[in-house]
Symmetry: C5
Subunit: 139 residues, 5 copies
């Protein structure tokens, strides 16, 4: 039987395509103190101009680098809570928000990581939900 | 007295059946950076064609493999938050969702792991709850 | 002054009873990948026929055993989220549920661990809250 | 310039008082498996008769002791979730509860740790919120 | 191509400014037992008179120091839950609160860390939401 390699970016698992599974494909991120494990393909596939694509893309396209912590995880000085839906979006192309997550927090991350499509979606969500409450940010 | 082995898939604990308890039965998964501990039986019992059944089933049925991290945990590049109800479903056959969990996120995992029965249930849940709000995914 | 030993099962801390404090009293559980620290007294006091009482009771009453992980924690293949209120119940005899916890998930754990009093309470809670919504389990 | 030592109990940071900063001031608690880091001053200042004050007070007033885990953290067999607001109360004298926290759970901890002022406040909160729902504890 | 260094305080990632990336820029905080990873720039940029700016600023402006734990993380005896929005505010200048977070808890941290602008915003939020409920602090 043909062995396949699990990577988050293989949408259709019945496609039968075989891909090599190098361990260098796996990346550990330390986002604000919390560890996220993912793959280079996930970080680079949705938007080739995003900060993460420029950090983890091909040798010739990498224009950003980052420090790593003592365990080898790439250090990113951002909110782990609001990074979570960003990473899930990179995995499967869908923005999924739980009820208790403030979309404003996710928008700040989408802006930081340079994901304009996601920013537009989040701005739409915020605008439609906008009621004159007290959860609006300091301007 | 007869010693029994605790595994998550033994539904009826008063049944009195004895089963051998090999430590190779236990499996550690690193899902997106979070560690889950479970057993091979849990991962393979509900649906023999799922990705997890194909990863952790009998020698002859395993058609997928995965990298492991430095602690020996199998790496899976998916959301730990939405994997949690998937794993609980594999443990006892029930889909249980907390109020603050977006079923859309769990559906993405059910699709990735190849669990059609669970996908149908989640699609029903999403359809019935569907109101024209802003939490719908980017299409 | 008389030194006392802190254990979770001493309800009335002004009672002044002295009890020996053996370190073997402390138990570490690895429930689905999350570590819980508790005492043998907590795990055995509420219901002598529960699975946990049979795992951690007196030498002669122990009829279940479990594997341990590399840190010596007892492995239990269940949901840590829904085990939490179970363990609190064993500590002080009260069932306390936060608003965002689905009681159906806790019921599955009460059933697994063999706690009939708790099961009755949870079934009452679920029945009274039952409205024809979409959060019901797959049957 | 005068160097100051950060401790959670210094309310007024502009007061300019200087206090020695001994590392023995710092205490690590293992509450039900979760690690909390705090100071002896925090644990002893609000109520000198509480269990924590009797564990971590002056040599002559300490009348309780506890086991420690392998990392040196003091073991307490209680709920980490409901201990969190207790510890915050000891830090600044305010009871702050998030919406999803059941005050009944915090009351059980206040009772265990012997904090009568906090118990009164929590009983008031529970009484006022009391509606005939299903979240009431088993009696 | 010009390499850039990722730090949380670089708002405009297309600005093209190059900055040296010293590992001493990264700081680990142990807030009440939870680890946060961030940079000195984040901790010092929003308000030069805050406690964190005085802890992590230039050699000559540092007027506070703190103990470190065995891993080298700076010990702060405060609530990690309510510190999280404080740190995000220092990262990007916006206060973002999830629905289930009690703003009173964040206000206590803003007061402790000496962030008057944030205190004003939080007091506004609390005042506007104020209804005679039972979640008010003990006074």
């Amino acid at each position: 039987s043909t062995k396949k390699c699990i990577k988050g970016h293989e949408r259709n698992m019945s496609s039968g395509t075989t891909s090599a599974c190098h361990s260098s494909e796996w990346v550990t991120l330390n986002v604000g103190g919390k560890i996220f494990t993912t793959t280079r393909s996930t970080l680079t596939q949705q938007d080739s101009t995003s900060m993460l694509a420029r950090m983890f893309g091909d040798e010739k396209t990498v224009t950003w680098h980052s420090s790593v912590d003592e365990s080898g995880a790439y250090l990113i000085d951002r909110s782990p809570r609001y990074f979570e839906p960003i990473l899930n979006y990179l995995r499967h192309g869908q923005l999924v928000l739980d009820k208790d997550i403030n979309p404003q927090g996710v928008l700040e991350e989408a802006r930081f990581f340079g994901l304009p499509t996601l920013m537009d979606t989040l701005e739409d969500i915020i605008e439609k939900n906008q009621v004159p409450d007290d959860r609006t940010p300091i301007t």
